[in-house]
């Protein structure tokens, strides 16, 4: 392989390389603690809301670098309403969940209407939403904390409490066999899909990656899945919240890369006028992006109150920043039109690892913020500068 090819490869997989380096750094500095089963499991549970929100935020950002500042408040508000429904009105599990989703969608649609059809800048609308729903959360909760510890179905299904793991159907072993089997099945499905794709491409004489590269990629990803599930199986098994994250990632990953609707998000962000003149309703695309953000905020609300087994008027603060940060670290363009769900997830994992690693090293919380800020800045600088062909300073 010649030099330019290696450079291209490094460019394409920068974030993965950075992820490995950062993980290596913390593994050494924490004496391997970050790779302990419990911490791997915590990485998922602690950051589940980021994965969910960042996926929704990606759709907003794709439409042209537009962000949603209200998600933290909406997470808090839907969580507050859910907690009240369960505790005050004794609403059954299903009713609570449906009501929370409905509220999330309504809030999303409310903001989306102003953004998409009246064309109020998203920054303004969602800044207003941030204030409105933070205030309403306080009103609904009367400024108090409401515990939902006793509503175990809700708590367990959305990944909180002590039993928030998929139970082991093979009995109680030191290793969670269900988790291992799931890992093996997932790996098998992954390898099968990879092969199927390659074979059908070869059959139709499309361009394919070099065989050596394809093998290396397939083997590495398979090993990562296996190692990851093995770690989880050593610590109580699959966290239920991982299922929600997987659903969101797979569904939205598919929508963005394989459907007409997904294509429209990229088109609007790439060139809105050209999209309009191609017979596509750009208003609808904006509407969809922000309504969907409400839906996913509701899901993040469920995950949040389940994990903390309570609702409080201060929950969800700065969640929007975590989501936005993950998107940009994960390679989404600040101008829209560029970004992928897998990229955003890698961005979120990177943020999560930095959080966890610094906590394990007992770095002061304030310094953690400083480091996260610098990482975000560095990621976007790298993106911008590498697109400019390595020139640091923009020409006057």
């Amino acid at each position: 392989m010649d030099k330019t090819k290696i450079l291209d490869l490094v460019k394409k997989y920068t974030m993965i390389i950075v992820l490995i380096l950062v993980l290596g750094f913390f593994a050494i500095r924490t004496g391997g603690a970050i790779l302990l089963p419990m911490n791997v499991s915590n990485l998922i549970s602690q950051n589940a809301y980021v994965f969910v929100l960042a996926t929704g935020m990606l759709l907003c950002i794709l439409t042209g670098g537009n962000i949603d500042l209200s998600v933290g408040s909406v997470v808090c508000f839907t969580g507050a309403v859910g907690a009240i429904l369960m505790t005050k009105y004794n609403a059954p599990f299903i009713v609570t969940v449906l009501a929370m989703f409905a509220i999330g969608i309504l809030i999303g649609a409310f903001q989306a209407f102003w953004i998409a059809y009246v064309r109020i800048p998203p920054f303004i609308v969602t800044l207003a939403g941030m204030l409105i729903f933070r205030g309403l959360s306080n009103v609904v909760l009367d400024g108090l904390t409401i515990s939902i510890k006793d509503y175990t179905t809700f708590v367990n299904v959305f990944g909180g409490g002590a039993n928030c793991y998929i139970p082991d159907v093979f009995g109680n072993n030191s290793l969670n066999i269900t988790c291992l089997v799931a890992g093996a099945v997932a790996t098998a499905i992954f390898v099968f899909l990879q092969f199927k794709g390659r074979v059908s491409k070869l059959k139709k004489h499309y361009e394919v990656e070099k065989a050596s590269f394809f093998w290396a990629k397939t083997v590495i990803i398979s090993l990562v899945i296996l190692a990851f599930t093995f770690r989880l199986s050593q610590h109580k098994g699959i966290p239920t919240v991982l299922i929600w994250v997987l659903i969101v990632v797979l569904v939205y990953g598919f929508i963005t890369s394989n459907t007409k609707t997904g294509r429209y998000f990229y088109a609007v962000g790439g060139n809105e006028k050209a999209t309009k003149l191609s017979g596509i309703s750009t208003n609808k695309v904006y509407f969809l992006a922000y309504t969907n953000m409400g839906l996913l905020s509701a899901l993040a609300g469920m995950i949040t109150i389940a994990r903390l087994t309570s609702a409080q008027p201060t929950y969800g603060q700065n969640y929007e920043m975590d989501a936005i940060g993950s998107c940009f670290i994960g390679g989404a363009s600040a101008y829209g039109g560029i970004g992928t769900v897998p990229g955003v997830i890698i961005g979120a994992v990177l943020m999560g690892i930095i959080n966890l690693g610094m906590s394990l090293m007992s770095v002061d919380a304030n310094w953690q913020k400083v480091v996260k800020g610098l990482v975000l800045l560095a990621a976007v600088i790298f993106d911008v500068v590498s697109k400019r062909g390595g020139k640091m300073i923009s020409k006057d």
Binding site: K260, L277, G279
Partner: protein, 509 residues
């Protein structure tokens, strides 16, 4: 020995992987108008960027000798300081600032920080007079037309005390009348001793205004022609540009004209902002199967506005009138319904309104007809998409390694072909082509003409809007002439000439 104001000696400029300029030499005599011609991508703009310091000294090889001394320009400021001022093809004016503010932007009058507005406006007035623009310096740029904006750019250059004026495609967005005025202005400057370098695709203008022509092809300077010695005909210049003679600039076709495909009656459109202004005024046109109909007219005549208002009401306010397709009246209230009724509009502004530059060819090709490559659930078949794009790449001879390449990296001609591919893939019956060959080179133009001939041979109808009269005359079966929102004439292609078209425009102006 001629008095050379500028000599560029053996300039070589390499970009990663490409030699953009290869030992290019250019000699410009004081007080002349020197034209630089060549196909797109030949290296004209690169050469001028080297001269003006946009590519700083050290990033190229060779010497720039200006007024007898070897110069090292590190920034644009350095070259402007010496009186070399470049006016780029894309106008660089701030729409919400006044003419005077724009003219002295970066060159403010007054103290170090404080701006002296009286002096600014006085000077602005003086330079506006020199370019013959009768506007108050306080007028906002957004309120004047492109032609006048171009004059402001020139006044701005004069305000920098320009000795050598470089104009990159100065007339590309101007109509015939404004172009003429601009050329006369250059001749007037020449009489006052100004030296100009003009880069242009419009060879008739070049041969009218230039004293010397330097031809650049594939990064090399091919030849220099002198008006007093050489033949300045378009054919002669084209020969130098393409390295061969194009005997026939327009491919022949046997017109097989059928029934009326689309008819527009009493079409009136008002301006979306100035709602009292009629942009299209009671227009009646029709196009037949297998026919290419041209719409000729000056810039601002309302041609693009007419086309876009027909195409699903994408432009304008209070639109009224009737559209008949195959004799039946249809309502085209959205772009979607227009596409559904077999219309396609290929925009004049391929970068702004046509293509997604940051996306690959294949995604641009299918954007207007994603249904063609997806199932009922809206899932795109990416193999099919790749196939479709590759098929059109072959059909239209789009030059690119694969259809995975981003459109932004293609040349203008190839971008135009991708835009055509996008609309051909919607399988339209009626194509409205708005300035389909703007800013693309001679070879690509010919290919686009061939594609148009193929389309009408398949029985499709083509409406071509163009500001280039030779193209309208060479390609169209029938020609409408539009002026100030009205259709002022309808001519047979075989009977029309530039003079007849112009006289219709002038009569109604």
């Amino acid at each position: 020995m001629a008095d050379n104001i500028l000599e560029m000696r053996q300039i070589t400029k390499t970009f990663p992987g490409v030699k953009a300029l290869d030992n290019v030499c250019l000699e410009v005599v004081r007080g002349e108008i020197h034209a630089l011609v060549g196909e797109n991508g030949a290296g004209k703009s690169t050469l001028m960027n080297v001269l003006s310091g946009i590519y700083p000294y050290g990033s190229y090889e060779g010497d720039i000798v200006y007024n007898g001394e070897v110069c090292q320009f590190h920034t644009i400021k350095d070259s402007e300081h010496k009186g070399i001022v470049i006016i780029h093809q894309e106008l660089a004016l701030v729409p919400y600032m006044t003419i005077a503010e724009n003219m002295f932007l970066g060159n403010e009058r007054g103290g170090k920080q404080i701006i002296n507005w009286n002096e600014t406006n006085e000077l602005a007035k003086k330079y506006l007079e020199m370019v013959g623009l009768k506007e108050s310096p306080q007028t906002l740029i957004k309120d004047i037309g492109v032609g006048k904006q171009q004059l402001v750019e020139i006044a701005k250059a004069l305000a920098k005390n320009a000795k050598l004026l470089i104009l990159d495609e100065p007339t590309s967005s101007l109509n015939e009348e404004d172009s003429k005025a601009l050329l006369e202005l250059l001749l007037k400057f020449k009489a006052n001793g100004m030296t100009s370098i003009i880069i242009s695709h419009k060879l008739n203008e070049v041969s009218y205004v230039a004293d010397k022509i330097t031809v650049i092809r594939d990064g090399c300077s091919i030849e220099s022609l002198d008006k007093t010695v050489d033949d300045f005909s378009e054919g002669r210049i084209i020969k130098g540009m393409v390295g061969r003679e194009i005997s026939d600039r327009f491919p022949k076709r046997d017109s097989q004209i059928g029934d009326i495909k689309m008819e527009v009656k009493d079409w009136t459109v008002y301006h979306p902002l100035y709602t009292e202004r009629k942009v299209v005024d009671n227009v009646n046109i029709n196009v037949r199967k297998g026919e290419i109909v041209g719409i000729s007219g000056l810039m601002g005549a309302g041609r693009t506005e007419l086309a876009m208002s027909l195409f699903g009401k994408s432009y304008g306010d209070r639109i009224s009138g009737h559209i008949f397709i195959d004799g039946k009246e249809v309502k085209l209230d959205s772009v979607k319904s227009a596409i559904g009724h077999g219309l396609a509009y290929v925009t004049e502004d391929r970068k702004g309104n046509g293509l997604i530059l940051s996306n690959p060819i294949k995604i641009n090709t299918t954007l207007a007809n994603l249904d063609g490559v997806s199932n009922k659930a809206g899932v795109i078949n990416k193999y099919e998409e790749y196939n479709v794009a590759t098929e059109y790449r072959g059909k239209l001879n789009i030059k690119c390694p694969t259809v995975e390449q981003n459109v932004g990296n293609l040349s203008g001609g190839n971008q135009q072909k991708v835009l055509l591919a996008k609309w051909m893939y919607t399988d339209p019956d009626i194509l409205i082509l708005d300035e389909p060959t703007r800013g693309i080179d001679v070879g690509a133009k010919y290919e686009i003409y061939c594609i148009m001939n193929d389309l009408v041979a398949q029985g499709k109808s083509v409406i071509m809007i163009s500001s280039e009269m030779p193209e309208i005359l060479g390609m169209c079966d029938r020609i409408y002439v539009m002026n100030e929102g009205k259709m002022v004439a309808e001519l047979k292609g075989s009977e029309a000439s530039q003079e007849i078209i112009m006289s219709h425009i002038i009569k109604t102006a």
